[in-house]
Amino acid sequence: MQRAEQRDEVEMLALMLLIRRFEERASQQYQAQKIGGFCHLYIGQEAVVVGAVAAVRDDDYIITAYRDHGHALARGTSPNACMAELFGKATGCCQGLGGSMHFFDKKNHMYGGHAIVGAHVPLAAGMAFASKYREEDRVTICFFGDGAINQGSFHEALNLIALYKLPVVLICENNLFAMGTSVKRSTSLKQIVDRAEGYDIPGDIVDGMNFREVRDKLSEIVTSIRKDPHPAFVEIRTYRYRGHSMSDPASYRTKDELEKYRLDDPIIRLRAQLTREGKLTNEQFDALDKKAKETALAAVKFAESSPELPVEKVYDYAYLNGPMEPGRPRPADLEQKRREGAPAPKAQS
């Protein structure tokens, strides 16, 4: 028992390191203009998703907002597929069609990657509704930022979730800011967790810089939900070290504040806990970190050398089985004709 847990925690530390090193590389590649669009980094918040993933089963549903690289990596999406997605390549987790804000990985039960603030919370309700409907003991873990709690979709979803007693853990990753707006300026509550009270959903506050605290609280909640489906709300207090996105200098907060949180770094903290307990040596930590850096670098190389989808492929992804208009060739039919050696009919516009 003791040994299993020990192995587990070191593995989870390795996962946090992977997310951190991956994102440092992503940041560098963004600056080199290898990555386009918006890119939101998760650096500083790693213990939240890794703590949650450590507490749930692999087949539990996970859904989040646009700051989603860490969630996919924690879920088991390969760093290569994640980096390739950022590069817009066909080998990406969404074939380069989604980009940074829209990571999906069905196989690993990662249901996105949603870039409209608050819009995915009703989806979590739907996923949990389906598991309850099918009488599965699956739990849906829905992550969102402190900025999302003032959206109408969030409120409507919370009421539905509570009303139907859906097996959802609502995780508010409270990093104190929505872009440049601090929670104090956006929300009429003393603390975010009080939102849950209005919907009669039990709420907790957890220190998101402490991996163990996140994992233990989530384990307790998930165990209870599996016995008897119900919602739960957890405000996890964390901090993002970088700007809101790559283009945000984050001048709305002080260096001192940032430094305070950096000293409380979730990776340093778990490392110290493990070292103190004799479960991790400095050499072991260095080896883990080296491996994370190598994996991130290898992902960049993989992404760089990967192909892009051919442009005509865009028509294949508006509808499954192609456009619905009569007389218009379906991509599947075009493909079939191509295989049969006939000249491909031109797509209409």
Partner: protein
């Protein structure tokens, strides 16, 4: 006249209207302390204070509705959407409340509100963040929609929108915020009426009808066409609704050929409407079928090459012009 950016022009329009009318206020996400996600409201909080320049939580449906309510009782709100893609969260307020009130109340409540923000695909923002909303909004009776392409038009149309007694959407071109153009000095009042297109370039062989982000595209293509001895006239719609039929018809009656280039998707789009009106009214003037260049009818992919393939571009526009010119 002096040269300023599209962003500065909008900023001046906001400042001048806030200055002119105490009932005008600006509200939206990050508009005050952060000076706007795209810095359009730079300096306005400092100048007009937090009562007139108001930061909101991420609650588009809420603050768009707040704007409509405030307009019902006499204020003149300017509601900024961080981008028009996010206005979809507030669709009910913009499409169901703002434009219907006047009819439903038997003329008791007009809604003098301006909804504004960057609209249209920017660069690799993916499907959720790349919406061009002009045809969605132009479809709703009771709404007016304009889409400036130059700093001067941006300033003049925004100021007019704020003074209009009906709900007006000013759909700004995200990719043009840093573009420059000549605008009258701040003390000269620049007002451009809604429903007035502008011929941005005279020509005799073909009319390219465009707006917003497709105006610079059309101008570039017209220069290329010149080298091939095709003289293109560029009609910048500026307003989608009301639509300036006269300017469109005059141009097409002169060139006898028309290509419409829009940044939006094709189905039930602005191009379809313009095309209908041309053929209905001046069919005899046409020497060739009207062509339309739009986005491909698919959600926007993230990949850069695929996005370019989906968007209207110079090659597509060239090909369409040559086709109508039988060149």
């Amino acid at each position: 006249m002096r040269e300023i950016t599209y962003r500065q022009a909008l900023n001046e329009a906001l400042a001048e209207e806030l200055e002119r009318d105490p009932n005008v206020f600006l509200m939206g996400e990050e508009v005050a302390e952060y000076h706007g996600a795209y810095k359009v409201s730079q300096g306005l909080l400092e100048r007009f204070g937090p009562k007139r320049v108001v930061d909101t939580p991420i609650s588009e449906n809420g603050f768009a509705g707040l704007g409509v309510g405030a307009a019902m009782v006499g204020l003149r709100p300017i509601i900024e959407f961080m981008t028009l893609s996010f206005s979809l969260v507030a669709f009910d307020q913009v499409v169901n409340n703002a434009p219907n009130m006047f009819m439903m109340s038997g003329g008791q409540f007009n809604i003098p509100i301006t909804f504004r923000g960057p609209n249209g695909p920017a660069h690799q923002l993916g499907a959720t963040h790349s919406h061009a909303t002009e045809s969605l909004y132009a479809n709703a009776p009771g709404l007016k929609v304009c889409t400036p392409a130059t700093p001067r038009d941006a300033k003049g149309l925004l100021k007019t929108a704020v003074r209009d007694d009906n709900p007006v959407l000013v759909l700004e071109a995200e990719l043009l915020y840093s573009s420059k153009g000549m605008v009258e000095p701040p003390d000269a009042e620049v007002l451009i009426p809604l429903g007035q297109a502008d011929v941005k370039r005279e020509g005799s062989d073909v009319s390219i009808i465009c707006y917003a982000q497709t105006v610079p595209l059309a101008i570039a293509v017209a220069a290329q066409l010149e080298e091939e001895d095709i003289s293109a006239e560029i009609v910048d719609l500026r307003s989608i609704k009301p639509l300036d039929e006269a300017t469109i018809f005059n141009s097409v009656s002169k060139t006898h050929r028309a290509v419409i280039v829009e940044q939006d998707r094709p189905f039930c789009g602005v191009g379809a409407e313009v095309c209908y009106r041309i053929q209905k009214n001046i069919f005899d003037q046409l020497d060739a079928p009207i062509m339309r260049v739009s986005q491909e009818d698919v959600p926007m992919p993230y990949n850069e090459r695929l996005e370019k393939f989906v968007l209207p571009n110079a090659d597509k526009l060239m090909a369409a012009v040559k086709k109508v010119c039988y060149a």
